[in-house]
Amino acid sequence: MSDSNMSLLNENKLREAKFWLANKSGRMAWYILRLLGRNATTLPGLVATTIDPHFLEKFGTRLDVALVSGTNGKTTTANLLSQITQAAGAKQLIYNGAGSNLSRGIASAIVAKSLGSSAQAIFETDEADLVYVDTALKPKLIVLLNLFRDQMDRYGELDKTAYEWRRLFAQERKVDFLLNADDPNLGWLGKHHRNTEFFGIYNIIGKKKGASAEIPRTADIIISPHSGELLVFNEVYFSHMGDYHDMASDFKRPKLNYAICDVNLRGLEGTSFVIKNPQGKVLLNLKSPLPGIYNVYNAAAAGIAALRGGIERNLIEHEIGKFSGVSGRLETIEVGPGRRLIVALVKNPTGFNLLIDLLRVSVHTDLNLVIGINDLLADGTDVSWLWDVDFENLKSSVRQIIATGTRGQQVALRLKYSGLAQTVTILPNVAETLEKILNDTAQMTVCCLSYTAMVQFRSLLLQRRIIQHPSRSQP
């Protein structure tokens, strides 16, 4: 064999060896962490990618990958899609169900499963990492849900992420996109891309068409990504999502390949809706226990992706019908006879305002609320966004509020300016808060928690055996 061929062969062997070592070391780290009863969703991936920086790329060549990204809803959508896919027979599916969605989280999910029999992977991916992960894993399908203001201290600005995502659509490689047309940024990004399909809402039951085309004060985009001028909305479903067109150009919401019709919002009980193709044929008839309009988009995205993947309609409808959510993203926990907690993750004004709307509509008795906001890195260190949440809307629904977290005082200040001061108690931490609510007789307490506050809360509930698993969807 010639010298150059030999060195090429050795290079290949070295590459393979590195990958094998990275995989094995990562898996060892995973074993040890699990043995110690610790979370294993980040470190194993870090180990693997440190040993072999090309770990993800090499892995990508072996698998059929789908990515789910966006600001809100990716954990719910990715988990739901994974659930459906597993139920359809993909027993060795790889996915990062616990929501660890940076590239090291994805690598961790990979080392946690033995690669042998896996053919498919579904990963939720952080918006800022999406371009990198796409280059590394070369997915066949990318599902994009929305872009909202979130963790402004990390990402700087909303437009910047949208601009970065343009690179995904400009690349040579064939990749299919499934986009939410109701988000102007996504409508703009996918406009000219050949392999893009769009879903969006066609009508909501009980809402007259065109009745409220006023953008809420806290909407993130009302400038057209196309012309820089104001967007006009024929319909607003929530925040900046709806049916829009540009005053200054012909840019408007793209035609829907999948129309979400007859949406019935049933408060905390969930939603129902029908998905039709452009000819009006019903593709899916869905009833979901997940509440709120944002979950309509999540369930629709998962259902449509599954349908496109060849999964049978009945199975999709069945799985969506019984999927009651991911840990912490609006989850109901029984804490005693006739007493329950609802735990919700809050990260930005849009999500929190939607939650407040849900509570106003659903709750007939007086409400007990916990608002726990930490400002650690994973929560977002800038909590100014609290001033864009309309707590005033809770005035007639709420009996008692506990403000807590590392920014509990800021929460209390915000509530004071909402006219809710008389109902507020400030507690220094999540542990004391849990004590107080467990000793309370209230039938229902809704806990609105930032990310690390939620992790702390669940860990305490686990310690007291009120819940069985740290996360409902550990891969």
């Binding site: 700087g156 004060r217 100014s384 915000r414 300016y417």
Partner: protein, 250 residues
């Protein structure tokens, strides 16, 4: 006798990315509690604006696309706003609003957007984002301290260094170099403090209110309010300062 103030709330649906709506909430509530009438005029793209109507202007920070659209419209309102500010109308301009009330803003690509020149400053997008808690020393409030949170890549340079209203104790401030924060021109203030600013610094909110009333010939000392929660929130924010942002004092 009933007093009243008219607040011109500029582009609130566009310059709304950083929670600066809290400034409006703080002013409204603190005015209501002193039985002072407040009328809020929401002014946006395409709206007519005449001088002599508003006692106060508020404008917050927004995203790049939004700021570009606002800048184009501000040109049409520039005469009114500069006339009003020369006549002592109170103004609080935060972050992007501050930049647009300056002479110019140059973005990362070198493109220059004209501001309305109320403040003698110019801003250039810098290489890194200045994010974090911002604590300043200032004469504007009895305690001598104001606190908030900043998030900007724009570096603002003051033509007159003495026109800053604050000196940075912890954080970046106007440009991360000369330790100045904000600017004062007559009764107009520009600043990078989010948080948002007025709820967390109630003495400054009251100071702005007193300035606006004084301009109407009403020289009263506002009756104090119970600001216990505000003080606790301030202490909490102080506790969040991280050492890597601290300048070593001279």
């Amino acid at each position: 006798m009933k007093y009243g103030l008219t607040i011109g709330y500029l582009y609130q649906e566009l310059m709304n990315t950083y929670g600066d709506h809290g400034n409006m909430l703080a002013l409204k509530r603190r005015l209501n509690q002193r039985s002072i009438d407040v009328v809020v005029k929401c002014i946006s793209i395409g709206d007519q604006l005449k001088p002599g109507i508003c006692d106060m202007y508020l404008i917050g920070g927004g995203q790049n696309n939004a700021q570009a659209a606002v800048a184009r419209d501000l040109v049409r309102k520039a005469d009114t706003i500069t006339t009003d500010i020369e006549n002592g109308v109170v103004c609080l301009a935060v972050c992007g609003g501050y930049q647009l009330f300056g002479k110019s803003y140059t973005d990362g690509g070198g493109r220059e957007i004209a501001g309305i020149g109320v403040f003698s400053v110019s801003t250039k997008a810098g290489p890194k984002r200045m994010v974090g808690p911002l604590l300043i020393a200032t004469d504007l409030v009895p305690s001598g301290r104001m606190i908030g949170f900043e998030n900007h890549s724009g570096q603002t340079i003051l033509e007159d260094p003495d026109s800053a209203f604050g000196r940075v104790i912890h954080g970046f401030g106007n440009n991360g170099q000369d330790r100045s924060e904000g600017i004062r021109y007559k009764n107009a203030f520009g600043t990078y403090l989010h948080g948002s600013l007025l709820p967390n610094n109630p003495a400054f909110a009251d100071y702005l209110i007193e300035l606006a009333l004084k301009r109407q010939g009403i020289n009263i000392q506002l009756p104090p309010l119970d600001d216990t929660v505000e003080k606790s929130a301030f202490t909490e924010m102080l506790g969040r300062l991280k050492t890597k942002y601290v300048y070593t004092p001279n």
